[in-house]
Every structure is written in structure tokens, then in C-alpha cells.
Subunit: 189 residues, 2 copies
DNA sequence: GTTTCGTGTTGACAAATGTCAACGTTTCAG
DNA sequence: CTGAAACGTTGACATTTGTCAACACGAAAC
């Protein structure tokens, strides 16, 4: 499990940092079942997670308590509520597992220590931030300019594996449409 | 004009960096009229801009060539297509002035030099990135979970100055609704 | 093995929003 | 100052999407 993170870091940097074992030791491991909540909105987000296996859902509730999903994170990617984690503010989002998942977690203290002592860790953080940002921008632009059907087509092209891996309910929530509309539109392909 | 940037950097860092004049000299100034395009999608984004005065619109076209606005940047804020700028890839977005504007621009070479030689500049960059990311996340979540009317109310509360400063057309495009719907819903307040 | 619950599908209808057209007003270039 | 173009508003109507309800199916719980 830790090896997945080791490999991820090596791939990211294109080289092996000297103190990689120190870096890896700063994380602790978590084995979670399906449907476990690891962050509730209103709480302070205490960790950044690396998803070694499984799948996480980042979502918000609207005023009728419907969930809409901002992001879906699969293995070999990072997940957190960075704004809450970085600014120590209450989280505006919730995170839970949608599959049994293995996570590697790093707390704020460990994170800051690595940021200061391992220059390459700072670099990895910047890469994660940039990737997260790029992802968000992309998502806003698809949301704003595409119809429900176009968004489905977009997902099939851009993240095809999700279509077969996840429940229709979750995909609909990710696309910002109702489950029924999603079911109907699928028929029109 | 340059003084606005100086003050912005000092405010951000909470202190004056030693080589601030070196930093400032790396920027060049631009005076633009209303409606000037400074980035077209497909081009590589060559600069990061600091908006000393005026207002910029970041937008995309859908397949019918309607514009939708991802972001609106007013004075004392940064604007770029960071993904294109950082990765030297074709931009997916367009940027133009919506008011006469004074900009300070830094190119990639200058940017990288400052990143390497001025640690605080790296820090400012990270702050910009974090703020941009936070802003995007916020925007996705409002888009996905709010109705048109709720989005109008949200804008009035969150960025009230924009309502009086910008054209209805632009605001509608920022909220992801048609100009007519916007006009009608305004009446219902 | 049976029950129970969540999921996916479908129908009927309602609500929200978009589109097209018309028209008065404002803005801006010449 | 003046004419053309863009903007804002309103009406009529079309389209998209949501909501509620019913039901079949399969997975998980007992």
C-alpha cells in the first residue's frame, strides 16, 4: 500500500528523493469499507489522503438535502478539502468512500514539516494543486456550456471507466442531473 | 500603476521583500481599451496579468458560439490561463477587457526566474493558485446546487459590486443563464 | 430461503429555463 | 449631432429537466 505512494511520488518527480522513506513514514494507513464518511461539512479537514485503492466521493448538500458530487477520486490520486485543510476553516464539502478503500493520510503537522524540510514535497504539492485547479476549471466550463446529454457524452469520452464502475445514481449526481433524466438520456445514445 | 502591485505584494506577504524592485521591474505595463482580447482559445497563454485597474472576463464559447463566463477579475487581482501558461498548452479559454484596464504583465521566462530566485514570489504564486482553486470549487458548488434565482441572490450577496458595475448580459453569462431569464428573475426580487 | 431495501426504469405531469421576435432605450463611432 | 448597433425588457411558445409515483430487479441481511 505504501509502495503505491512511493511509486506515485517517483513518477511525479521523475526521480527518487533521498529521504523518501522519511516522507512515507509521515503517512498512516486506513482501511475503509464502502460508504464511510471521512469528512463532514462544518468540520475542519485534518488530513490529505492518497487513495491507494478504491474510490472517494466529494459532495455537497443543497437545501433539500440532495447531494451533488463535485469530484470523484480513484486510486493513485490525492483527495482532501484543501481550503479547509490549508486555512483551518470549516469544510464546505463532505467526503466518503464509495468502494472499500485503502488510504494513506497525512496530517497538517506532518504536511508542514515535509513542506519545509523536503523541497520536492513542496513541488509535489504544487503539482497537486495545479492539477486540482485545472480539473475544476475544466469542470466549470463543461457544466456551464453543455446540456445534460452533452455532459454524459463528455464523461464517456473523458472518464469512460467511471461509467461502468459507479452506480447510475452517483454518476447522475456527478453530472448535476437527476437519476431519472440520466436513465432516459442514456437510452438516446 | 506599479505601486498598486507593490502594495499588493506587501499586503500578501505581510512584509516587504528585499528585492521588490527587481520583482516589479520584471513586469511590463499595458493600457487597454474596452473589449480588447488578450487571449484567444487555441493560443498559448504567454503572460500572467495583474489587474491594476479595470476588469477582465474569462470565457468560453459553446458550440453555438454563445459565450459563458467562467470568471470576472477586477482590480488588485491576478488573471491568466494558468494551465496554458504553466504547461505551454493551447488555452481552452478566452480573456478580454470589459472596461478600459491597466495591466501589469509578466512572461514565462521572467516568472520562472522569479520563482527560482525570490522565495517569496513562489509563496505569492502558491497563494494565487490556492485562491483560484478555492474560487473554482466554490463556483462549481454554487452552480450545481442552486437554481437561477438562487444564483442571482448569491451574486448579490457575495459580489454585490459586480451587479451594478457590469452589464446584464455579462452577469447573465457569468451566472450561466440567458439574458432574458436574468431580466425576468430580477423582477422577482 | 425469504425478506427488505436500494437501484434503475418508465410514465405522467409540472416547473424552470431557453428561444425567437418585437420594440424602446442607450451607447458610441463618425 | 446623428445614425447604427448593441442592450434591456417583455410576450408567446418550445424544450429541457425535475418531481412524484409505480414497479421490476437484484443484492444484502436475517
Amino acid at each position: 500500500m505504501v509502495n503505491k505512494l512511493r511509486q506515485h511520488i517517483i513518477d511525479r518527480l521523475g526521480s527518487t528523493p533521498d529521504n523518501i522513506d522519511d516522507v512515507l513514514a509521515t503517512f498512516h494507513t486506513l482501511k475503509l469499507k464502502r460508504n464511510e464518511v471521512i469528512l463532514k461539512q462544518g468540520e475542519i479537514c485534518k488530513y490529505v489522503y492518497f487513495v491507494a485503492s478504491g474510490c472517494l466521493q466529494v459532495f455537497v448538500y443543497d437545501k433539500e438535502m440532495n447531494e451533488t458530487t463535485r469530484d470523484i477520486i480513484t486510486e493513485n490520486n490525492w483527495c482532501s478539502e484543501l481550503i479547509s485543510f490549508g486555512g483551518q476553516q470549516p469544510a464546505t464539502e463532505n467526503i466518503r468512500t464509495v468502494e472499500p478503500s485503502d488510504l494513506l493520510a497525512i496530517d497538517r503537522q506532518g504536511f508542514q514539516r515535509l513542506m519545509e524540510t523536503v523541497p520536492q514535497f513542496d513541488k509535489v504539492y504544487k503539482q497537486i494543486l495545479e492539477a486540482s485547479y485545472a480539473n475544476s476549471v475544466y469542470r466549470i466550463n463543461t457544466f456551464v456550456s453543455l446540456t445534460a446529454l452533452e455532459r454524459i457524452k463528455w464523461l464517456m469520452e473523458y472518464r469512460p471507466k467511471l461509467m461502468s464502475r459507479l452506480s447510475s445514481k452517483l454518476i447522475a449526481s456527478y453530472l448535476g442531473i437527476s437519476q431519472e433524466t440520466f436513465s432516459r438520456l442514456k437510452g438516446k445514445l
